[in-house]
Amino acid sequence: MLPAGTRPILEHVLNALIDAGVDDIHLVVGYQANRVRSHFGSTYREVPITYHTQTNQLGSGHALLQAQDGPDESFLLVNGDQIIDHRIVEAVSNAHTDTATLAVVEGPEAVDYGAVSLDGDEITELVEQPASGEFRLFNAGVYAFTQRIFETLETLSVERGELPLSDAIQQLIDDEVHTVGGVRTDHFWMDATHAWDLLSLSRELLSRGWVDAPAIDTDIYVEDTANVHPDATLVGPVVVDSDAVIEAGAVVGPYAAIGASATVGAGSALRDVVVDTDTTIGPNTTAVEVVAGQGCEIGAGLTAGGGPADVALDERVYSDVDLGGVVADRVEIGGGATLEPGALIGPGATVGDGVVVRGRIDAGSEVVR
């Protein structure tokens, strides 16, 4: 339920499916299952949704198995954390004839994804995160399957806590009888692996005008119920969702997404930010390249000047990330604090007045100085 613009990524995903003509949706939910259910209910845009619960998160293949009782015949499969143009879904759907079909895109990112070799319309090889740079084509994560995929998954076992979908696809590729089709596409797709990816995702959405709120000027989208002070300045592209408040003298944008019921304090300057629902940003804040989660309380005069930064996460260092900071859900920050570029503050943490945050603060912890 992370935000892209002012809407959860998953909402964009479902929009793409429905725009491509999908009329029956099955969602496999685990993490924050109740949030997802409460957000979408039993139908979305009049398309019925059936929920399947994945109690233990054992990989993408295991997730798909949870929906085994769902679709009767051929079906499409997409990831919940990846924004895709609906035309990719249409292309895969139209090309699907036998067993499995997947969308293939080209780019240097192939090393980070499932790289593929394509012979005509047929996938001949699938390599997850290949060590060598010889691959240019990779799996975009949009699939069409027949019921065969369930039978194949059932022959595999969970190893090292994972049952990846790619293992099942690999098996189908190796199988003499079945073929796995590939469809080349160059339509827009983008995923969010790290929290800072939400900034580029929102940038893309704002540039494309993929926002719900009505446009009140070029590139400026403001919901009717939002409350923007006449002395505040919105610099497009910018979106302000319902019941959000922008106080006097604030300058918001370019590339700012202000979520529902969020508040931007007087005299604050925000650029390249994603501010999620219910978060309050105190007056005279400067925030550049900042992601703020839901329900944060940020005191007056925060300074977050933006990247680039080297960010260490999960025993890996990501160099030159353009990131002022990530403030997770329900963080409280006192007045006059500073985020050094690349700061990561975990959910529910409390940061005292005047603290200079460097690097990472763990979830729920309290930093007083």
Binding site: N34, R37, F40, G41, P48, I49, V245, T277
Partner: protein
Amino acid sequence: MCGIVGCIGRGDGTVDVLMDGLRSLEYRGYDSAGIAVGPSMGVLRKSGELDALSAVVDANRPTGTYGIGHTRWSTHGPPTDRNAHPHTDESGRVAVVHNGIIENYATLKAELEETGVTFTSDTDTEVVPHLIARALDAGDDPESAFHNTVDRLEGSYAIAAIIEGSETIYAARQGSPLVVGVGEDCTYLASDVPAFVDHTRDVVFLEDGQRVIATPTGYTILDTDRQPVEMAVQTVSYTAEETGKSGYDHYMLKEIHEQPTALRQCFSGRADALDGTITLEEVDEIPQPNAVQFVACGTSYHAALYGAAILREMGIPAEAYLASEYALSPPPLSLGTLVVGITQSGETADTLAALRDAKSRGVSTLALTNTVNSTAARECDHAVYIRAGPEIGVAATKTFSSQLVGCNLLAEELVDGPRDLRPLIESLRDLPDDVQSILDSSRAEELVEEYADSDAYFFIGRGTNVAVALEGALKCKEISYEHAEGFPAGELKHGPLALVTPETPVFAVVTGDDERAQKTLGNIKEVQARGAPVIAVTDGESDAAEIADETLMIPETSERAAPVLANVQLQLFSYHLADALGRPIDKPRNLAKSVTVE
């Protein structure tokens, strides 16, 4: 309190439409159900939940091109097959379904029995088919027979009838809800829109005294003088989508989790956080009342207690009355008093009666309701909507939270004078997220493991938290069937303390750290001295968490918003307690969602 449905013009699909309609009205009552279809005049009825009727329908496969159906919640006579609707006359020429109470049924029954009619049920409804049959025998055509019968009925009713030899549904509304669904080449009738919203969203909301004659070619609406009247067709916006369980085990849990959304909708667009003002678009300027009397029942009455408390704090004399008492023992009213009815459905008979009584005494009335176009909304001078969305679980959850916010909006609208509302607005804007944080982290389920086999559960609070204590107890008893009582904390020592033992956990709602909180801490020690475990529902501002045996924490917020949050913790406790005890949470025994009988 029952639900009725009807459908004509759907050909062979009629039985399915009726059964689906009944299923979506099941929340209105469910101790028996039945259908009647024409032209065969076949009647099937069964006591028990709707599945019992489904089994009979599947076994008998009735066919028909028009019909009526009923789901019943007993008021006259126990829930048995013979008391289930539809009721027929002796010859089976007439079948009738009815929601409401026919107050003169004893007189009519005696009159019919004198002419030799034998009654087969204990219901008040059965007089209707017999009266229609007698009129037919006297030479009336079917439509006249129906009108002449309805003319004789007193009380509140929504009635639908089919009569042999006439491909028509006859229906009438007086005091109980009845809506017409306008389809393509077909017409639907129901107590509530969800019954046919899958088929059409074009709806006519009937008014009291009106009758409907529906045939395969259309419908006519008549007034009490049998003259045709034109009624506007309205398009309703909500869809059947919102009535599914979305993967939750129970509607109640779904609705508890929907509270952040419901509260957001309730508040959206109604406050200007920049200049600190609150505006309710749907009401014209209401002059500041000299006094406010709230009338309500059940959970809504607890919202009324809260509403009255906050108005009193603002200097307006305000009281909450139980609607069932109000009409029969009306308190004195002066001109300039505003009477506010709080009713989720807008159809609660007791509340409607109280509002009508107030109106007849010349004061203005206002409905605070969840249901646009409901009877309460139409009959009152003003209506304010809480916008919580449809609520299916019999135990009210999200609508109570939204009613509390609605009370705040209403109070600020009613009371004149400059004041800075920004702190209040800020806390109400924060409510959705504060509720979400409770939903994400509540310990209520753990506490159930510890306290599930207690003898009884008590709930105490002071000030606006009295409403929370009473509501916490009501929720607990209605879905868990365990004994639960709520008290103003200071009342414990005047009697209820005698019930307190080590086997009776006491939930103490303590928010803020004012004198009320301090005195409640004293009450906590009072019950602890009797060995009772105390669970504090608190924001941590007072020492309640330190003194109590267990705590359910809520985020710090304003005094006005804290009761909403405290209540969410108690909802979760009651839900998990009922779940642990295996109770039918969405359909507690003997209860119905909106009670349209007095």
